[in-house]
């Protein structure tokens, strides 16, 4: 029976495929038109103003290219600066994020299925969530001194709350009838957890993943601005102290691009994993 469905799909592909490509292009143009126009306006305005503080986008792009992507060495992909700063930054960010995801999602799902435990720790969660994450960076700076542990602690502690809270919500969203069904068929514990609770929680978990990933980027920079010996935030500090505005803007643009990229990748993963949801493509 799968064969028939596939056959129908296959026969329908060519015409629909072409139409989909053109409509995708149209959608792409529509989405980026305003962005491109804004950059163009910025270029013209900055070039005519000729302010040292606001270099034109072309100058910033040049700086990103020379400083981070290719450089004088002519070696493509990454400059030494990039390898020495971008990679440690990303390593700390994703390492910390992954720690927070594993701990936060596991804890959140466990809490979400236990009303009693949630009664106890609910107020604690609400309190921690209310603390603006960046304010903990100076505290961890004193506790751990300068370096990776301080940065990891800042990021993990900052991003774990949306992960826990969203996972709690997700785990609680298992329908009572689904719960009764699982019990009536006497599903083994593993199958109940990984076959019912986790899939039911996933939409909410993904919401938490997205929030926490963008938070992780923010906290990565903040922790590096406060104290680091390498990293994007460190490079921003160096550029600032030498009044190198194009270099500062280059870091800003780089961060924007990275944030956009990470979110897009996560969205693609989410779309694949949650394909089953009604109304998704």
């Amino acid at each position: 029976m799968t064969a028939t469905v596939d056959a129908v799909r296959e026969r329908a592909t060519p015409a629909r495929g072409r139409r989909r490509t053109t409509s995708w292009l149209a959608g792409f143009a529509q989405r980026w038109a305003v962005f491109v126009a804004a950059v163009a306006v910025w270029q013209v305005a900055a070039a005519s103003a000729a302010s040292a503080f606001f270099p034109p986008p072309s100058r910033i792009a040049q700086q990103v290219w020379d400083g981070w992507l290719v450089g004088e060495s002519g070696r493509p992909l990454l400059t030494d600066v990039a390898i020495d700063n971008l990679l440690p930054s990303l390593g700390r960010m994703f390492g910390s994020w992954l720690i927070a995801v594993v701990v936060g999602v596991t804890l959140g799902i466990a809490l979400g299925r236990s009303a009693k435990a949630l009664d106890y720790v609910g107020p604690l969660l609400a309190f921690f969530r209310a603390i603006p994450p960046p304010v903990l960076a100076p505290v961890f700076l004193l506790v751990f001194n300068l370096g990776t542990p301080m940065q990891v602690a800042t990021i993990v502690f900052g991003v774990i709350w949306p992960l826990i809270l969203n996972s709690v919500d997700g785990a609680r969203s298992v329908d009572p009838t689904q719960y009764a069904t699982a019990r009536a068929f006497r599903l083994p514990r593993r199958q109940w957890v990984f076959g019912v609770v986790v899939p039911a929680a996933l939409p909410k978990v993904f919401a938490g993943l997205r929030v926490s990933l963008s938070l992780a980027l923010i906290l990565m920079v903040i922790s590096e601005l406060l104290g680091a010996v390498d990293g994007l935030g460190y490079q921003l500090n160096i550029a600032k102290s030498s009044f190198d505005f194009p270099a500062m803007w280059a870091v800003v643009v780089l961060l924007g691009v990275l944030g956009y990229l990470f979110n897009s990748v996560l969205l693609v993963v989410e779309r694949r994993v949650l394909r089953w949801q009604p109304g998704r493509k």
Partner: protein, 270 residues
């Protein structure tokens, strides 16, 4: 299948002649701890023999679903006992399947139709056997070729049949069905009624089925259990002495059938 339906119900009518498969005695259920809340069911008692097909009819909201859930061990009754195979039910007994009234929410939306049907079998039977049972059950309910779809891509009646297929593929000793044909068209309903009668004799299943439809309760069952208005009590247990071999047209046209359905309707008026 040593005992045919007639034999079983005959035996049950003689007090204590056979040990019943299921005995419900003095069952009461009240939602919540507040004693001021009216009970959903009150003092329900009956027995069902192995291989019997018993229908439960009663006014809407009288507590039929509550009764079924208590029998399935899904909630602890406020008082009274459910005894299955001689053991008091505490928690969900093994070898039991439930078709929930809320069929659409009892399916798992992240699993395809096939996988939904196979889901309870995963830890119980091997892959090949599982695949065969799923295919058979889906064909039985008229959903061959729909296995790869997700439940939300099906109509309500089709979803209801998926949840029936899931229970059939499980091949339980005791099948509890809560208004299982409520959302399907008349022809499909007739087919499913005949399917349930066929499957229970093929697999020696005991079936307890809740329905709103008086004709259906008579056509399907060996006995009809008529419940009172809320809180539910058993008004009467009516033996259905129709021949075991039933046919949608001739059986429903017989004088005996008409007499029985009139009797059930009369009892429901109380």
């Amino acid at each position: 299948m040593a005992a045919g339906p007639e034999v079983t119900s005959d035996a049950l009518r003689k007090e204590g002649a056979a040990t019943p498969m299921l005995r419900v005695s003095g069952l009461a259920h009240r939602y919540g701890d507040d004693p001021g809340v009216a009970a959903a069911i009150e003092d329900v008692s009956f027995e069902i023999g192995a291989g019997e097909l018993v229908c439960i009819v009663g006014p809407s909201g009288c507590g039929k679903s509550t009764l079924l859930r208590a029998i399935a061990g899904l909630h602890e009754p406020t008082s009274g006992d459910v005894v299955l195979h001689g053991d008091r039910v505490k928690g969900v007994p093994d070898d039991l399947a439930v078709v929930f009234q809320d069929y659409s929410r009892s399916l798992f939306p992240w699993l395809s139709v096939e996988k939904n049907v196979a889901f309870p079998l995963r830890s119980r039977v091997g892959r090949a056997e599982r695949r065969a049972r799923v295919a058979e059950a889906l064909a039985d309910v008229g959903l061959e070729g729909q296995g790869a779809k997700y439940p939300w891509q099906l109509s309500g009646g089709m979803q209801q049949r998926v949840s029936i297929a899931r229970a059939l593929a499980y091949r339980p000793a005791l099948m509890l069905m809560d208004e299982p044909f409520a959302s399907v068209d008349a022809q499909t309903r007739a087919d499913l009624e005949d399917l349930v009668r066929r499957v229970r004799s093929e697999h020696g299943m005991t079936v307890l089925l809740v329905t709103h439809d008086i004709d259906e309760s008579v056509y399907l069952s060996d006995r009809v259990l008529v419940l009172s208005k809320s809180p539910a009590r058993v008004v009467r247990t009516l033996p259905v002495d129709l021949p075991a071999e039933r046919d949608q047209i001739t059986t429903r046209g017989s004088a005996q059938f008409v007499e029985l359905r009139t009797e059930v309707a009369r009892l429901l008026k109380h």
